[in-house]
């Protein structure tokens, strides 16, 4: 998977409303790409719901979240509404999984991405990345806050 210190691979994807979001749009802000396997699978339901609850605290630290999966913009729209979340969902739909592949988190045999978090700095450099040991294990929001906090090097 992509490592910190590398330049974030470029992308242009449609969000749940069909509006294009490009890497260049993320310049000047801290962004967290939340790669998850599929819309409507029970595990990611709670993942995005819990992240939604701490959006104000993330915003205070200047960070914005984007969900990404291989589902279409239409599925994302329905998924977003069913969850009741405002986190934008990007459709890595065509060519399928291209962005997940570029970030090194695509599972070829399953046809969807792993569960992973990639933090991109205002300069579009990868600041931090994390891959869950299995797609069933959901990374806590605490890990995002750890990566955001200016602490001494580990």
């Amino acid at each position: 998977m992509i490592e910190s210190g590398t330049t974030a691979p470029d992308f242009t994807l449609a969000d749940q409303d069909g509006d294009e979001v490009s890497l260049s749009h993320l310049k000047g802000q801290t962004s967290v790409l939340v790669f998850y396997p599929l819309d409507f699978s029970p595990v990611c339901t709670s993942q995005l719901n819990v992240y939604q609850e701490v959006l104000p605290e993330l915003a205070e630290r200047g960070a914005k979240l984007y969900g990404i999966s291989v589902d279409s913009a239409f599925a994302h729209k329905a998924f977003q509404e069913s969850l009741g979340v405002s986190i934008p969902l990007l459709a890595d739909f065509n060519p399928k999984g291209e962005v997940a592949k570029a970030y090194g988190v695509y599972i070829e045999e399953r046809g969807h991405s792993e569960r992973a978090l990639v933090m991109i700095g205002p300069d579009l450099e990868v600041k931090w990345s994390y891959r869950a040991p299995t797609p069933l294990e959901v990374p806590g929001a605490n890990l995002i806050f750890d990566a955001l906090e200016p602490v001494a090097p580990r």
Partner: protein
Amino acid sequence: MDGEEDLGSAGVPGVADDDYVRGEGPLVVEYADLECPYCAKAHELIRDLPIRRVFRHFPVVSKHPRSRLLAHAAEAAARQDRFWDLHDSLMADQAHLEDPHLWARCRELGIDLERFEADRRSTEAAERVVRDFRAGIRAGVVTTPTLFVDGLAHPGVPGPELLARLSG
């Protein structure tokens, strides 16, 4: 820095004097949402186990719109030493969660309604729920219920293996 605002990783806080605790046995710290059906299921499964059970609030409002309000209501019941009574009542029936239903539950449980109404809107109730929620976030809670046993998180409704272990 490890201040109030910090949401970075931290272990599950130990049992505090003002925690809601019941039973005797191995310690089980539960992060739960009073509107969550999986929490109700978990409650049914662990209710009679020989465990020392600690309840902490983890309302996921985007999923369960009334969960925070219910957490505040449980806090108000706690001011009258009736936390577990209202908790059990809510867990037993999650189809009646509107205000008139809460008032009916209070009347049934003998909770002073006037005090309840004031207390559930208090800053103290709100702060307590936020305190629990933030500690849950820091401990990596991403789903409800999550049970911590020996400091290890068990997300979701407890399975047969965990239940067998907790059955003593």
